[in-house]
Structures are given as structure tokens and as C-alpha cells.
Symmetry: C2
Subunit: 176 residues, 2 copies
Amino acid sequence: MKRIAIDMDDVMADTSFKIIQYINERVNGVYSYEGLMTASDVEKKAFYEVYVANNKFLWEPGFFEDIPVKPNAVDVIQALMGKYEVFIVSAATEFPNSMKEKLQWMQQHFPFIGWQHIVFCGHKHMISADYLIDDHEKNLKTFTGTPLLFTAPHNLHIHDYERVNSWLDVQSRLLV
Amino acid sequence: MKRIAIDMDDVMADTSFKIIQYINERVNGVYSYEGLMTASDVEKKAFYEVYVANNKFLWEPGFFEDIPVKPNAVDVIQALMGKYEVFIVSAATEFPNSMKEKLQWMQQHFPFIGWQHIVFCGHKHMISADYLIDDHEKNLKTFTGTPLLFTAPHNLHIHDYERVNSWLDVQSRLLV
């Protein structure tokens, strides 16, 4: 049985959506997910500078407990588990408060995935799998299997990987 | 650079020592680490039955925050990092409260190992490394590199793996 490693933030969870909401609250901004998807490189660079200067909420309790689930993620991942061994692999050890919240989030939305198949790490290059679905190039470029880039506002400029825009794209790529 | 994956409980941390202390408090017992190391199979089975019936402290806050460090673990692991890429790989996702405590414990005792090289997981068979130092056969038997069994009271009956009895043994095996 082939193995798939699946990232959480901006792949299973719509983390950018909540980040944008938090940033808007902190800087009285009017950023939106859709706006970032169509923004120029200069506009996007400006947003990510604001984000880096105002993102300490990532280290505080509560941020990761109620992030929206990406459309179709639940159904497609449940279907993938019939054909593949699925591991959830989240770069979470940078955020000590996030891990308990991420486990609870998994139990709430993906109760069919047990703690045995959840991995919290920093670097991902020691993960052995056949596929990695991730939104960050830094994780995909050291991966030894087949990398799949999950579209997010911060990776639209990357063209070196096979791209999936949604969970329905993942379904078409890995389940048909 | 070759990669070593190192387990935490009963390898870096003297978890059995604290477990025995907690069990004694709960059942008014007189168990000891040294006693378990020389106990008969029947005596050991009796202890582990008591342990399984009285171990809910593993899921409660606080247990993992002040476990003693194994002798020479700090110095030998720091030396290993000069020759190998070191990842700490702990089966911790079963215990949602443990991960923040384990990160703090790492920062306190092993501040030279960053969050980038700490992994909390359930199953360990998707970890890719050249060596795995672990006290549990279930982790070693699916490992694709060279497994090293770190001696603990619960694994004395296992003879299928190269054994290290202490961190000085690890030093002799991997650094000479």
C-alpha cells in the first residue's frame, strides 16, 4: 500500500483564511484570501511583511483550535484511506501550544484518523512516503517521493512542482 | 551525513524511574528500577499489569515535564551532532498534554537541539534514518535502517537486535 503524507495548514485547514482575519483585526486591514490570490507580487510582498510583523498569535493558545476545514478535505481524505496509508504531517513543533489544539481539531473533523497517523515535526525531510501534499516548497524540495503542491496565495509563483488546486484535484490525481 | 533518530522515553529520559515512583504512590508499592531489572518474568508481568491499571497519569498534565535525564545522554548526543544529523522522535501523539512538556524538557536539557529536529508521532515506520535508538521492539522491527535497542526493564527478553545498555555504549558504537 502506497503512503501519502498530508500537510495540515493551508492543505487540510484553511489557515490563511484565519491568518488574514487576525491580521485585519490587528492592523485595521481589508485583506482577503481572494484578494491575495489575484494580488501583484508587490502587493503580496507588502501583506507578508505586515504578517511577519504581526503574527505572534501563532505562538499563543487558541489560534489553531477552530480553523475552517478546506472544502471536500474530509471526504477525499477518507476515500484516500481506502487505497493508501495516510499520515498527517504538520510542521508544528515551532508552536508549542498548537499541537494539543491540532490533535483536538483532528479528532473533531477527521475522527477516522488516529493519533498513530499524526506527525508533528519541524523539518519534513526525514519523512518517508510515496506522495507529499504540501503548500510549502521548502518541504517539497527535499521530499524523496512525488511532491504535490497544494495551491495557496504564497505559492502561486512556484512552477517546479505538479500542482493541485483543491481536494477535488487531489481526488482526480490519486483516486481515479 | 548519516541520520540518527533517537527516542525520548527510556532512552534520553528515565521515564520508567518516574513511572515506578508514580505507581508506588498509587498502589502503596515498593517497586524499584533495579528490582525490575532483575525480576523474574512472572514478577515483571505482575508489575506491568499494575502499571496498565494505574497509568492514567500519562494523559494528565505535568507527568512529562520533570523526568530525569539518562546519565551521559546530554554529552553523547551533543557529540553525535558533530558527526550525524540527529532527530528526536517520540511517540507522543497518544498523550495530547505531553508534547508541550516534552518541548520544554528538550529546551531545558538539550537546548542545542532545535524544534526543527524534534518529531512527535504515533507509528514510527515512516521515519527515514540510518540508525534508530529505541527501547521498544514495535518501533525497531519496522525500521528500515540499523536498529539499536536501548536497554530497559521491559525489553530484557528481546534478543533480536543489537543492544546498547547506556549512552556510553552508544558513544562506543557510533563515535569511536
